[in-house]
Every structure is written in C-alpha cells, then in structure tokens.
Symmetry: C2
Subunit: 92 residues, 2 copies
C-alpha cells in the first residue's frame, strides 16, 4: 500500500475536511536501543521549525503523537491549517 | 489503521532491514490547486539539511518521492542510514 493510499483512507469528518498538514518522522532501527533516540527529539523540533518557515502554524493547531514499537519509533505531527492560513512569502 | 501499523507492515527485505529514517510531509487540501507545490523543492532540501546536522548521510542514500492525488500531496524522504553512519557530535 502506498502512503498516499494510507492518507486518503483516513476517516473523513467535518473537522478532518479542513486543510491539514501532517509531518511524520519515522525511525526504523534494528535494535531497541539506538544512538539516534538520543537526539530524535531535537531533530523533530528542528524539522517542525523548517516547515514553519513556509507555513503559518499556530501552537494550538498542533497535535503531536508518538508511537513506539520494538523496531519503530514514529512521531506524528498533525496541524490543522486555519482557513486563513496563507503560506508565508518565502524569500530565498 | 495507525501509522505505526503502516510502517511495520511494509515489506521487509535485506535492504529495508537497515536502519532507516523517513520524513513525510502530507498536505490535505480542499481544492486541487496546491500552494505547497511552489515551495516543495526548497522544503525538501531544507529538511535533508536538518537531518545532515545530526547524521552523516550520503546523497545516494536519500530517496525522494512525491505523490499527488486530488486532495492530497505527499512528500516522502527516505534515508537509508549506512552501517558506518556515525552520529555527528551534536552540541546544543
């Protein structure tokens, strides 16, 4: 199944029908302990900051979920884009 | 289905069994026209640069995929972490 299928099979509801942005950082590791786990929180924070440079995001519209399994660690950031959310002018 | 299920049901192969990092940015929009397309190339470049601050990655280990459907746009950055990948010293 492609990721696109995953997203388009998500349940639709009035609130979900808004514009939404999801940022997912998934780390597949071979062992439960990984050197990467140490800096994953910092990395995640920085990735969100990058997206913020392009899209206006309010803190209250951000929902963060972390899932962990033996070999996986998935961070899911769900952002409801307000109707007025206009992409910032990105000057290079 | 949770995202974690999605990731853990991905086909396993020798190459996939490596450590991997995936960064996914999905934009669910109401109309076909997308504001994200305009800055997607810059966004993906910046996301990779952030990861590079933490992990030594070679260009050939980075795989980028963009999927588009009527109401969805998904940017997927797949990074295979080489066995010798030593985490850079991250000084806060």
């Amino acid at each position: 199944m492609s990721l696109l299928n995953y997203f388009s099979t998500q349940p639709k509801s009035a609130s979900i029908a808004k514009e939404r942005l999801q940022i997912i950082v998934a780390h597949q590791r071979r062992e439960r302990s990984s050197i990467m786990s140490d800096f994953l929180p910092d990395l995640q924070k920085e990735l969100i900051e990058v997206v913020r440079k392009y899209i206006e995001i309010r803190d209250e519209d951000v929902n963060i979920r972390v899932e962990q399994a033996e070999n996986y660690e998935v961070l899911e950031v769900n952002i409801a884009l307000p109707d007025s959310s206009i992409v910032k002018i990105h000057t290079k």
